[in-house]
């Protein structure tokens, strides 16, 4: 399950979609909009994507995670557009029999997404706005 969406992401429906009876562990990541960055107060964010390539790269990362780690399935949902503080920009859910590979696959996936998926974040402050370039 790999999606780009423009509405708020809820984690439980994603879990319900991918969880199977043979799974013993779910490891999940949520990226959420922080109220500060680079020592400035952030008012809100906007995410823009090269959508066709972003979805393709997310699918490739998910497939690679399934190849490299002993997991059963992975879901990655990234939101685009305007997001308020505290809202979720990305959810990753990894399902597997055991927790070790699930942690590793989740970590690999978010790290790689932040490196190669063509999505950009614009931070809006009290006194202006800045495109963020490059991952942290």
């Amino acid at each position: 399950m790999f999606l780009l969406v423009r509405n708020p992401i809820e984690i439980q429906p994603i879990i319900d979609t991918i969880q199977e009876p043979e799974d013993g562990a779910l490891v999940m990541f949520e990226g959420v909009v922080r109220n500060n960055a680079n020592e400035k107060n952030v008012r809100f964010l906007e995410y823009e994507a090269y959508e066709s390539m972003a979805l393709k790269k997310i699918e490739e990362i998910g497939s690679q995670a399934k190849k490299d780690f002993d997991i059963r399935d992975i879901a990655i949902v990234h939101r685009l557009g305007h997001m308020e503080i505290g809202e979720c920009s990305i959810v990753i859910v990894v399902a597997s029999a055991h927790r070790g590979p699930a942690f590793d696959a989740c970590r690999y996936s978010i790290d790689t997404i932040k490196q190669i998926v063509p999505i950009w974040k614009k931070e809006f402050y009290e006194d202006g706005e800045v495109w963020i370039e490059g991952a942290k």
Binding site: S89, P118, W120, E133, G134
Partner: protein, 81 residues
């Protein structure tokens, strides 16, 4: 006989466009396409080493050939997640 060129994020701001078409003639590789826009928007030069390039949704380098019908994307380092 044309290629489509896409810009994103700060590079869309710099060029004032998100998408344009070029006649294929005269463009041999990604660098030649990039140079065409540096000529029009000199501040793009600052992105020569940091910008990322894709053809048809796969990452490529400046010396990758461009072909008729290609979708060439030029964008800054990503910051999603």
């Amino acid at each position: 006989m044309s290629i489509r060129v896409l810009f994103f994020a700060s590079l869309a701001d710099t060029t004032g466009m998100r998408e344009t078409s070029l006649d294929t003639a005269g463009f041999t590789d990604v660098a030649s396409v990039f140079n065409r826009f540096v000529h029009e928007f000199p501040s793009l030069e600052n992105y020569r080493t940091s910008a990322l390039f894709a053809i048809n949704s796969d990452f490529v380098s400046l010396d990758t050939p461009v072909r008729d019908g290609d979708e060439v994307a030029i964008f800054p380092p990503v910051s999603g997640g």
